[in-house]
Amino acid sequence: MSYVIPKETYSGNVLSLEFGKAPKSVKIGGENTLPFLSFEGSIPNKPVIAYEIQDITPDDWPDTVKAQYAFCSDNPVKWAQHCQNKLKAQAISLRLIGTHPDRGDRSAGDVAKIVKDVLSAVDVPLIILGSNHIEKDASVLVAAAEAASGYNCIIGKAQEGNYKTVVAAALAHKHKLIAMSELDINLAKQLNILITQMGFDKERLLTDPMCSALGYGLEYTYSVMERIRLAAIMQNDVTMQPPIVGDVGMYVWKVKETFASESDVSQWGSIEERGVAWEAVTAIAMLIAGTNLLIMRHPKAVETVRKTIEELV
């Protein structure tokens, strides 16, 4: 018996998508093989990591990650510049958490100004996210999309409860769009279908099947993503071919492994590295399952995941 490389023949591919403006625009997706398996297909673009920044100083992030931005997190413009200039961010993800009714309830007017300020301060591509409040996001994302008109941003997230408004805004201002559903491949598929039925090109769409942190449901996200990728590549299911987003930082930095002090749980070791490893390992699992675009917080985690991506291509 002699060895023959067991290659699969795939019929589908992940759609490729470009966001931001030249010369700093970024391309993701486009592969016609399973994650990192280039022995049986091509992977034209590497996964990209966007640094998360927020419109208000985060008070719910653990100290270890807050400290990384202590000198700039009071101002989204400074924060964005720091990510671009010092941390060499490939992309930035602005989360408008201050618009949440419980977190300051900022108006759509405020949003427009912040978005414009950030856009004029940096030239790397921008992702603009709401606060994950379904009703409020509808108005916030409309204002954000308009303010960012012409910048070819990614906006999100469109969910079942607000997609009509959000899709219309992304359409009108020519942005890319994240469609998010909650950990169910059928819901993800259905939302993609509903959105494309509104005349939104699937080539402009990204799928967020909902992230979860290591130890807190990671396996569900992992398997939903793997199944979405298999449907796209093996079954050539065109509704499952948009690139996948992993909104990692937001889920990771609220689990207790990332903030419990060493004196409380001595068997868990150093809090500093523990948090970084938690975010990095969550991100790695997402990448192996098929994520094309990661949103992350801690610079050391981003740097390590980038280094790992370099070893994977």
Partner: protein, 447 residues
């Protein structure tokens, strides 16, 4: 790949003697193909047929134990490429690599690290399962004494003899052969000698070759010499090669029933930066390694890697539920708030996490709704006023708290009137719609 009834029939004596309890050889063959009887029931089957049938019915990836203590770990035996297809069965082993050039004090420190690595996570005891002892000194008596020391101080921990020099290996194996260490490894240059040691002492053998073609040739050769408990190393150094070759090995074994690669995989992921090493180990854990050898085992790193392994190896068919009960978050008192939610495990994780973030100690009543989230459970008639009232009464929470206020999820605000009607003396408060609103909600309540 299992043989069909007809294929099995061709290997039987075809005398229809009925000694197996079946009317004909064909009937017996059919039953055998379906796993309803065993080959031993036919007394007349030839040795050659036994061998062929035995091989065909062997699992596609060989399964055996590493170590001999009650902490011995099962390797191999996987049946699928993707966890959602069924499940991954035998969690990978994490081993730490230790050089024999370390001083006794340093060795003792490492051993201590391994012995205290055990962590309890959601009811499972997780630990560093093995120590890989590297022959770095070039001195076989130094190697032997390091091996001795480790096996005495960590008697239950499995040992990997990371030594390519047959004479040093022979000495070390002799001292601990009863512990069934894994001998790592046979390669192109030492195949005969290493295989002989493994065969003589009946221990598993690691096999190393650069590339899978070369590796297949080597495993066949070693099997021919009589050692079959093998662990294979493709020689991958970059993460990319590791992922691709591990995938090709698993696929060859499962989809092509290619026996020369039907063995558990070992990956050395040694990197200088411990966080980077954690990431590369994570790839190996997700994609098909059975033994992952690390250069360091910091507590934070173990926690992350144990948790990942637990996530990857959980059974995807088991519904995502947590136990119905009143959970304490922080150290609640009789005056602490009481919230209710459903037992969908992600709902539970999110709600309990946000309550924890609020730093307000609280009780969380988690009600069995067959693993459905709040809105779905409500729509399915499982999270209704009547059922909530019954659960609160039966839970005994009335003895734990002195107040009578229940906070319900904002998504089922509609239930508040009905619950208040049925739960006498209670006040129902509508909480936030989304879990991320909980910290603000709890913090803004008068203490």
């Amino acid at each position: 790949m299992a043989l069909s009834g007809v294929e099995i029939f061709k290997l039987l004596p075809k005398t229809n003697c009925k000694k197996c309890g079946f009317p004909t050889c064909l009937a017996f063959a059919m039953a055998l193909a379906q796993g309803k009887t065993e080959l031993a029931k036919c007394p007349d089957v030839s040795e050659e047929s036994k061998r062929v049938l035995g091989e065909a019915s062997a699992p596609p990836i060989r399964t055996f134990f590493l170590g001999t203590s009650e902490k011995a770990v099962k390797l191999g035996g996987e049946t699928v490429l993707f966890r959602h297809d069924k499940k991954f069965f035998n969690p990978c082993v994490y081993a730490v690599n230790v050089k024999d050039t370390l001083s006794n004090d340093e060795l003792n420190e490492k051993i201590e690290e391994v012995l205290t690595s055990e962590i309890d996570r959601v009811g499972q005891k997780l630990r560093v399962d093995a120590i890989s002892i590297e022959f770095a000194s070039g001195n076989s008596s130094q190697y032997e004494s390091a091996v001795k020391l480790i096996s005495q101080k960590a008697p239950d921990t499995a040992i990997i003899l990371n030594c390519k020099d047959p004479s040093a290996a022979e000495v070390a194996v002799r001292t601990i052969a009863d512990k069934k260490p894994l001998l790592y490894c046979a390669n192109e240059g030492n195949t005969g000698a290493m295989t002989n040691i493994a065969k003589t002492h009946k221990i598993p053998l690691g096999v190393y070759a650069k590339g899978l073609s070369e590796l297949s040739v080597l495993t066949e050769k070693i099997k021919g010499m009589g050692v079959e408990d093998l662990v294979i190393d493709s020689g991958a150094e970059k993460a990319k090669d590791m992922l691709e070759l591990n995938t090709q090995i698993r696929r060859s074994a499962l989809k092509k029933n290619f026996k020369p690669l039907g063995y558990p995989i070992i990956n050395f992921v040694l990197r200088e930066d411990p966080i980077f090493e954690t990431c590369v180990a994570g790839i190996a854990a997700a994609k098909y390694a059975s033994i992952i050898v690390l250069s360091s085992i910091e507590k934070w790193k173990n926690l992350a890697l144990f948790t990942l392994r637990q996530n990857i190896y959980t059974d995807p068919q088991v519904p995502m539920q947590v136990e119905q009960k009143i959970y304490k978050i922080g150290e609640p008192t009789v005056n602490s708030p009481l919230l209710i939610t459903t037992n969908f495990s992600l709902t539970y994780f999110m709600v309990s996490g946000e309550v924890e973030n609020s730093k307000v100690p609280a009780y969380l009543a988690v009600m069995d709704c067959e693993g459905l989230s709040v809105l779905t459970a409500w729509a399915a008639g499982k999270f209704t006023a009547g059922k909530i009232v019954q659960f609160i009464k039966d839970s005994g929470v009335e003895n734990q708290i002195s107040h009578r206020e229940l906070i319900i999820p904002g998504q089922v605000a509609i239930l508040s009137g009905a619950i208040e009607d049925k739960l006498e003396g209670w006040k129902i408060t509508v909480g936030p719609r989304e879990a991320n609103g909980i910290p603000t909600f709890l913090k803004s309540r008068p203490a």
